[in-house]
Symmetry: C2
Amino acid sequence: MKQEITKHSVKLFQEKGFSETSIQDIVDSLGVTKGTFYYYFKSKEQLLMDIHLRYIDELLDFQKEIIENEQTCRDKVVKIVGLIIGDIKSQRANGRVYFREMRNLKADNAEIIKAKRSEFREKLERIIVEGMESGEFRHNLNAKMITLAILGVTNWTYQWMDPSGDVTVEEVAEMFADFVLHGIHV
Amino acid sequence: MKQEITKHSVKLFQEKGFSETSIQDIVDSLGVTKGTFYYYFKSKEQLLMDIHLRYIDELLDFQKEIIENEQTCRDKVVKIVGLIIGDIKSQRANGRVYFREMRNLKADNAEIIKAKRSEFREKLERIIVEGMESGEFRHNLNAKMITLAILGVTNWTYQWMDPSGDVTVEEVAEMFADFVLHGIHV
């Protein structure tokens, strides 16, 4: 049931916005009572935090796996680009809520999420630096800026990508990885 | 006064969100009455539309100028990247409202803005196609996807860029133009 509540809430948050969605809207969409909601979540904000946490923690886990398993910096970047874009398929609504609604988190919760977002970004930045040092990437890059450029390419897909459209997620991931690699390789 | 209302509203919308900001909040922040607001705007939604229109119309005007004045596709792309990023300096709050609050426009207004956004995107796409045909850019690019990748790099800057930070807008524009050109050049 907790998962059901989360799923329906994400859908409503995405369509109407977090502030415009009431707990009543959420339970109505599921045909349950408010009591059921409060059994799993203290508040609407806690539910939003839950959505944010699950989203970023999953990305961090996959990123860790990629960093441990891939040998070259090139492959690490390609896989991380694919990870973010691929996530759209199953996580599109989550991603939209994640990117749009952070300002509705309480200050201390927002800080926790910001720290995790920074962690993801910094790990990618470290790969860029390593690739510059090893000669895989151009030595004159500003690693911090390049990291933000790469995250722009990937994160922006949430704004326009239609997973049911004529280009598959895999094709987009491949084209964008190629674009990014051309942008940084020697 | 119309400009003052817009400016203060953009600030409030950016901080609190469009739905969370009342007309009362707006007039309170200016020390005027609701009558003043309604003298200039029929509704909060009309004000939001006004913000959207001015933002995209200005970008379209500048883009047109660039296309007419620059000779090579390379220079057109560089200038358009610079245009979007440079806009942050003066337009950061407007940009954030523009990117976040479109769902709060009425359906017919949203369609107008969507059409203008598409126009901007398609004009950039046409430059990519021309550059592929003229041999300036790699011939095997997917122009539509590359355009979305470029807009990802530029538009994402609204999420993180601090115009008062240690990297200037001009430096970011130059680095990102360089990154993008490496991504597409022959």
